[in-house]
Assembly symmetry: C2
Homo-oligomer: 442 residues x 2
């Protein structure tokens, strides 16, 4: 199935009008997130790989065209044009895993107007979600701390199959250790992890039998100890751990998924240690997110690892990013939109990052200006062909983790905030161009 029709109808009705009028000279669009973004003091950019793969493969199948014909909106010439349609534009983009801020162009598309218009919906769909999840994952990591193991348990609550796959990749890219999602593991080479469900325990005559069976059938067993009674579950797990020890094997850990997790983990750690099982890890799950992990730790909870599901994969405290895609320049010059509260920055731009002792400080300039620091946008596609290979996800993850944990304390603060401020300024030349365009445009 081609992805060409994963678009709002208006992209095609606008494209049709441009086509009829020969309005296909180059136009430049910026994809950026409108500030402010509640509860997000920074974002982690993700979605470029999905975007590039889409742009490289974009085409309309025969049955797409047959369907469009049934709508009665387009003539034969336009459908013929679509049958030959390929994206042949230039793309500038921030790299995946980069820390970014609302207001900064993340992707800039320069292409014949029709091509640039038609790709809007898909690019927004994928960048909005992948950046949303990478940014949420970064917060969960900060709450869990550098030493903890954090994995994605979200597939059952993600919004459909594509979300589950993208949530696994985006959270790994931000620094998670793995995912329960087997398909994402296969597609991206991510570490896949998993223990057992309550239904497994319930499928045996008693809990001890279930634990023994699982330990026998799984090389690295983690036992879920709260199906019936936590204390009894723990005793059963300790018995199995001793049996494994006697065979030269070991119990990797126990998982707790319900109840007062802080109190439960303290008790479990104490008893495991008392039994000499210092290496048996405690793994917790159950509607976790950065707020709950912070509270858990503040209450003295002790865990080696966290399985984070629903609230990661749906970015529960902020279920959508306000990413938009705006015309900023065309053959008539720089362009801006004047709708109340929705002004845009005109022209082709660059973002320059100064890092003073880990404190990022960004300036948005015109692309032709030279700023201080490091330019965040680089050209990644020319005439529809990508210029950069896909990233090595393992290395990207390492670098992103490092970047997130090295952020200044003010940005690492996870407390809720309605209207965060961002360390971003706009160059005087760009500001004055905005003022000119505001006065001039229509």
């Amino acid at each position: 199935m081609s992805q060409a029709l994963l678009t709002d109808l208006y992209e095609l009705t606008m494209a049709y009008s441009y086509f009829k009028r020969g309005m296909n000279s180059p136009a430049t669009f910026d994809l950026f997130v409108r500030p402010p973004v509640p509860n997000r003091r920074f974002l982690v950019f993700a979605g470029l790989e999905s975007a590039l793969s889409y742009l490289e493969n974009l085409h309309f199948d025969d049955d797409d065209l047959a369907y469009l014909d049934t709508l009665g909106l387009f003539d034969r010439d336009f459908l013929d044009y679509l049958s030959r349609f390929r994206f042949q534009g230039e793309v500038w983009s921030v790299s995946e895993g980069e820390i970014v801020f609302p207001g900064e162009p993340l992707i800039t598309i320069e292409a014949p107007r029709i091509e640039a218009q038609i790709v809007e919906t898909f690019l927004l769909n994928t960048v909005n979600y992948e950046t949303l999840i990478a940014s949420k994952a970064a917060r969960v990591l900060l709450a869990a701390g550098k030493e903890a193991s954090v994995v994605d348990f979200s597939p059952r609550r993600d919004h459909g199959a594509d979300a589950a796959i993208k949530a696994a990749r985006a959270s790994y890219l931000a620094g998670f250790d793995g995912t329960s999602n087997v398909l994402a593991g296969k597609l991206f080479g991510l570490p896949v992890v998993g223990t057992m469900a309550h239904s497994y325990v319930m499928s045996f005559p008693d809990e001890g039998a279930a634990f023994r069976a699982f330990a026998e059938d799984h090389p690295r067993p983690i036992l879920l100890i709260d199906t019936y009674d936590l204390t009894r579950g723990l005793e059963n797990a300790i018995a199995v751990a001793k049996e494994l020890q006697a065979k030269g094997r070991s119990l990797v850990g126990v998982r707790i998924d319900s109840g007062d997790l802080a109190e439960a983990t303290r008790m479990v750690r104490r008893r495991l240690d008392a039994a000499g099982l210092h290496d048996v890890k405690i793994f917790i799950s159950g509607d976790l997110d950065e707020y709950r992990i912070e509270a858990f730790k503040a209450q003295g909870g002790v865990a080696w690892g966290y399985g984070v599901g629903t609230r990661l994969g749906t970015s529960y405290d902020l279920p959508a990013l306000g990413g938009v895609y705006k015309l900023v320049e065309d053959d008539a010059g720089p362009r801006i939109k004047k709708s109340p509260g929705k002004h845009t920055l005109p022209g082709k731009k660059q973002v320059w990052r100064l890092e003073d002792d880990g404190h990022p400080s960004d300036r948005i300039t015109l692309r032709e200006e030279t700023g201080e620091g490091r330019p965040l946008l680089r050209q990644v596609m020319r005439q529809g062909r990508r210029l950069v290979p896909p990233p090595d996800l393992k290395k990207l993850r390492e670098a992103t983790r490092e970047r997130i944990f090295s952020l200044p304390e003010a940005l690492k603060d996870l407390s809720p905030v309605e209207n965060p401020t961002y360390p971003v300024t706009v160059s005087p030349r760009l500001l004055s161009l905005q003022n000119e365009a505001f006065l001039e445009n229509s």
Copy 2:
């Protein structure tokens, strides 16, 4: 690509253990939403078609098996078993579009234990999301009112491609009039709708030229009038409407996407009427949901139609449903889980609905009991083959709309509520079975 690996790893590690032990006698699992669900006084069930299509087509490709082999968790016998794997169980389900309540079984799977286990993740993923969106759409419809036209504008903010497709279908199924999503239109035969973006207006020398061009190129034009200045935009639209009238055509409507929508629509309606353009419709969009539509109407806003995007497709005030999938019976009898706050109802069940003057009142019973009213669960699959054809979506939409608008006022109340109560009781026999199982199970 097969969907078999869209699963949590633990489904496969558990399945492997069952396989090794020959534990493959029939087991019954219920899929239900844990009560309470904040801000939802009722739910609209959706996702059955995705579930049945998944179950009918479920298989492991050669490259799925090759990947699983690399994990070092499974032996050759099990991979051989998976290569022949097909879902051959029985499925009972509520019908799509039915009003349902948390706690009620929505889908019951009875299958050899391995089959029943492996399908958990996908079923939860799709039913959780589709029911979430159908339920959110119902609230938006109630706010907009029976006379209004409401359409899905969510693709750019939905969580990936699959979510965009499912949001379009689920909102239509609940009673929306259409979607901007062209692919969903093609896949499900949904009406597709769309107007123009600000970038279209900005692509012409002036707004009037843009409006004229669009009206010429589109048979049913709706003009977006807030790119630069609303009042001027409206004047330009009125001029175009008059020109169309002179040609025997008409302007369908104007769209407003920003600013104070209540005030703006009052002004626009007044001026359109003053210009004799009573038939020109007002269409609004911009971060709408049921709360904002209620407020808009309370402030005297007047709109013929609503485009609802971000807050529909992400179910912004409740981004996830707590749907779970629990073992309720196996060859050892009825089963329950005892984790704190997470008790389940054992056994194979039925839900009976009494409708007293539109007031639904439900009772959950054992399947073998006969209740009063109408049974909500029917068998939809036998030995892996579906027993019911896919629904006619148009008819289903009509019936669901009717059902939603006919609900009693108490259920139609849209005000936020942390802990709604639901008109659901449990039969004495089922309650006593739960008590027995609670005492017995492990």
